[in-house]
Amino acid sequence: MSGETSAGLPEVDVPAADRAALREPAHQVDPRAVSLWRTTALVEAAFVSGLAGVGYALLPERPWWATLALALLVAAALARAVVMPVVRFRIHRWEVTGTAVFTRSGWLSREQRIAPLSRVQTVDSHQGPIMRLYHLATITVTTASAAGPVRIDCLDEALARRVVADLTEITGATEGDAT
């Protein structure tokens, strides 16, 4: 197994202690992603506020702290819709090289994922209904590990198709069962 996957990779120097930081992946996601994320966040905010509002209206009496809790909830949901997309757009980045996929995602918590192309099993793209409005698509690259799918969120449709084609071509050339 090891022979199949590490063969062909160049011998690389073991990094020195002062170099141990990952750089940013090369590309940002499509700027329309900000609008997409804001739209979904607003929809979620409306839904949550609506539910809480109905609950509030059904209360037999309305003490001051219930009013405060409702106000805070609505304010938090709205603040999230304002702040999250901007921060997320700064964080989300991706890169595909000849040997690996590398992504960074999240806004409050962060995640960086690396999957070598020699271990990739499937390359899927996905478009939800709202994403279709914005002409965006998400690519999911899976490996033999359930813990290891790498997702590139919100690429332009045409770009996503190209990336999927490229990835399929590269990974199709790899032999072995990638476990």
């Binding site: 197994m1 160049p10 120097d13 202690a17 918590s109 995640e111 690396i114 590990s145 813990a147 476990t179």
Partner: protein, 511 residues
Amino acid sequence: MTRPDEDGWQRLDARMLLIGPLDTLRQFAVPVVIALVGISSSRGTFDPGLLLIMLAVPVVLGLLPWLTTRYRITDTQFQQRRGLLSRQQLTAPLDRVRSVDLESSLLQRALGLAKVKIGTGVDETRIELNALSLAQAEELRRFLLARGAAAVPAPPPVVWTQSTDNQASDVPFRNNRQPPPDDPPAVLARIDWSWLRFAPFSLGRLAIVAGAVGVLAQWGEDLPFLDAEHIDAAWRWVTGFALVLVVLATLVVALLAWLVISVVGYVVQWWDLRLTREHGTIRLAAGLLTTRSTSVEEARVRGVELVEPVLLRTVNGAELSTLATGVGEGGVTKVLPPCPREVCQEVGQAILGAPRPLVAALVPHGPAARRRAHVRAQRPAVVVTLGLLAATGFAGWPWWPPVVAALVLVPGGAAAGEVAYRNLGHLLTPAHLTSGDPAVQRRRQVLERDGVIGWVIGQSLFQRRRGLATLTATTAAGKERVAVRDLPLEQAVRLAALVTPGAVVPFLADP
């Protein structure tokens, strides 16, 4: 045994004609009895014809698997056909066979039969042959695993011998190739009955007992004497004695029951345990009533997991599992019963082929990780104390519960936090990545470097504030991930780069 037809298809063992109907009869027993009682009582008469029909149906159903299942081995594939109405053909490429399990229930053992389960590395479905003769099953196991291990790209053609002489009939997989080298199996571990002392300290079985008690309790509600009046009377009768005595007696009885259950369970499960290595496979066989044998190609065993649950650790006991790909059921297989930690370490070393990962001290993760372990361990203390404070403030409870809770839980949390931090760590050895969890239960996972597929470096909001990260090595083996928690971010990146330089170094920042 049954002889293959001209295409090489052969049936399961004919003795299944005996067992199959018995098995289905057992499954159908309850509904059949209920139906019979119901019909008879509504009609007022007992109809023997009805009984016959109700017995005949399961018997016929029990014969079906033998009648409809056939299997054969071609040059490249293992094939199985089954099904009466919807016919199904399952195939497994011979060079993809990763594990072969044999299992015999008590009844099957009496008749010398074994069920064979064949697992391939790629998908989760396993081919089941229920059942073959023991000799045939054993032969099939060795043949498949030898083929899987060899994984020859262009194998010489297998020729089915249509020999007419009777000697050949006991060797079902004759072909013109060399048999696998017959070196004797090396024994890695054998049951040692002095390990029985660990049985009561392993609480895994307690869940099963609790489940049984739960079922009994539900059932008990229907008993005629379990109503409020009787319970009340019983309670008064009990409190008439010294309550302490009653409680003590109950405790003693429960403890004795647990002793018996745990020891019996241990013996039944691990009877005649043999862990061996032969022809590049690791084989585990054990069981008193139902015997099981699991064989996994050694190259598929990507690592081991050493767990020391709190109670077991107090008596220096531990449990060992292998992390493998393509064996189904999560890929984590317990290969040793609760036994002395040293035994687990030795066997683990033999499986890994490396001495250090299971015994060497782990690299600690530093002060930030320690603070985090302590903060996490104080959560119950904070929640309980605040809850009690609220009760004191708003519900008029006395002043002392929150104070007592804080006095007990805070030191307890501090101790738990310190233990958790001591268990946390990682270690990189030439061939393996080792990780210890930050938890009171000590767990050490060892993964082959070659088994690492990719990486996830995650930082929660709190980890970011302390500059920590959780480094997850994704893998196809075991639970498909090995996480190194609360590692300083730059160390996490460095570790990933050291394990798989090819994938990580291109993404490192310039110095």
